[in-house]
Amino acid sequence: MTEILSLREAVAAFVKDGDTIAMEGFTHLIPHAAGHEVIRQERSGLTLVRMTPDLIYDQMIGMGTADRLIFSWGGNPGVGSLHRLRDACEKSWPRQLDIVEHAHAALAMAYEAGAAGLPLAISRSYIGTDHESVNPDIKRIECPFTGERLAAFPSIRPDVAVIHAQRADRKGNVHLWGILGVQKEAVLASRYAIVTVEEVVDDLGDTAMNETILPGWTINAVCEVPRGAHPSYAHGFYERHNAFYTRWDPIARDRKAFLNWMEEYVLSCATFADTWNKLEADGYV
């Protein structure tokens, strides 16, 4: 049964300290507002999973919510480094962060295996690379039919998946289109799923037949959070805010500037709408 909740209620109900959570989005539809709410509720000890950790994981890591990161590419796309991620890796600030480094293909297939209810995924990954020497999750398996050596790694089974979509109806059916990323797999691999959306509608009615990608009974909570993917984008609603990604760089570079920014735009705001209003007032958007 899907509940229509506020984001605050949804995070309070489903995200616990120490959980493994996957907040997915491949450049498109990244659940930024939900990340802010996890920070505001001071969750800690989290294992964060994401193929492409970007600004929101940079913020969550910098605020000390995470002990562990499972990822395959962690950067600020088109700009450079994630400075909070780097500071955690290089200087253990604000705390030690254990990293589990994968490649995209493997991590995508690990989600898929999780959705398929399998204990592991296999692929032709990590041939001749050093990942295996630092990531004990990567093992080798022999094909019983051909003898080929393949990579094996555990499926990803998060406690909670959090995604952002364009729309949902009141029963929690999720309407998502454009770049799909690995969100469907993340939701189906997880025990609980929270979906933030641009709008909750009474009836998805005229939706193209392949665009309602998740039925309501796979979703625990739907939260209406307009602009909740900012500074990433929601196809059909708003474009990627490239300038924000550039502006983030100097903020994240400096610990104090970062903490000040988080205090001002996240901790002292009650909701994402407050954050948005403040960003608007201060000329960010």
Partner: protein, 266 residues
């Protein structure tokens, strides 16, 4: 300065991108990395290779952006694509399934066999001096695309004798070792590195990369100085044809569109 328009009327970066674009022939299916590879691939599409199929790991297949994307999943990549598939499908069916002719990569560090490091530099893995973003799609692209082209600026920091970490496999002994262990790299591996000074090539899989071509105004000495290993030079070094007026104008229109998108505060 590689971004200065010198006496030649173009920058070394522009020369590099143009030289890389010319390696792509019409009808090829290319798995494209963001940044320099994406610039070269789109330039090829808009000049001599209109039917080239550009694939980005975000799931966009045969995409035709008007400006160079800033991220791998820009909305324009989706809007101008023939189809958009999920990320697991992209890696499973299209890359691992053997549907890609050329993987076009950038790199932070590369060695003489074309092994690539995008994981960390200095210190230890647990406490690195510089943590890099990681491999993204490259580790599998490097072994599963038919052939690999690498485009990167040539400097002793990037062209190194020893990598701290191999994120993506090149050719040479390491590839042979992997085969001996029963792994099946399905592609041929890196064949060509295009730099701001010239072009390096290898006999696929076996030998180290050697300098085979120089761009106008660049010398073999300069290339050797910009390389952390003892770079060997082909007996006959070719000279790259400078960018044509048409190539330059198409490339500049592409990058202007990107600059505009980057500054757009909308």
């Amino acid at each position: 300065m590689s971004d200065a328009v010198g006496d030649l009327g173009y920058t070394q970066d522009e020369m590099m991108t143009v030289a890389a674009s010319r390696l792509l022939t019409d009808g090829m299916v290319i798995f494209v990395g963001i940044g320099l590879p994406s610039a070269a691939a789109n330039l090829a599409r808009l000049t001599h290779a209109p039917e080239i199929a550009l694939i980005y790991e975000s799931g966009t297949i045969a995409t035709r952006p008007n400006a160079l994307p800033l991220s791998i999943g820009d909305g324009e990549l989706a809007e101008t694509a023939r189809t958009v598939v999920s990320v697991p499908e992209m890696f499973r069916y299209w890359l691992q399934g053997g549907r890609i002719d050329v993987g076009f990569l950038g790199a932070a560090q590369i060695d003489k066999y074309g092994n690539i490091n995008t994981s960390y530099i200095g210190g230890t893995y647990q406490t690195p001096k510089v943590r890099l973003p990681g491999g993204g799609g490259a580790p599998e692209i490097a072994t599963q695309a038919g052939e690999i082209f690498v485009i990167m600026r040539q400097s002793p920091r990037g062209f190194v004798n020893r990598l701290d970490f191999v994120t993506s496999l090149g050719g040479g002994p390491r590839r042979e070792e992997a085969r001996a262990k029963g792994h099946m790299p399905t592609g041929k591996g890196p064949s060509t590195i295009i730099t701001d000074l010239g072009v390096l090539k290898t006999n696929l899989n076996t030998d180290e990369f050697i300098l085979t071509d120089l761009h106008q105004g660049c010398s073999a000495e300069q290339a050797k100085r910009a390389t952390g290993w003892d770079l060997k030079v082909a007996e006959q070094v070719g000279q790259t044809e400078p960018p044509s007026v048409h190539e330059l104008s198409v490339l500049r229109a592409l990058t202007d569109g990107t600059a505009k998108a980057r500054d757009d505060n909308a």
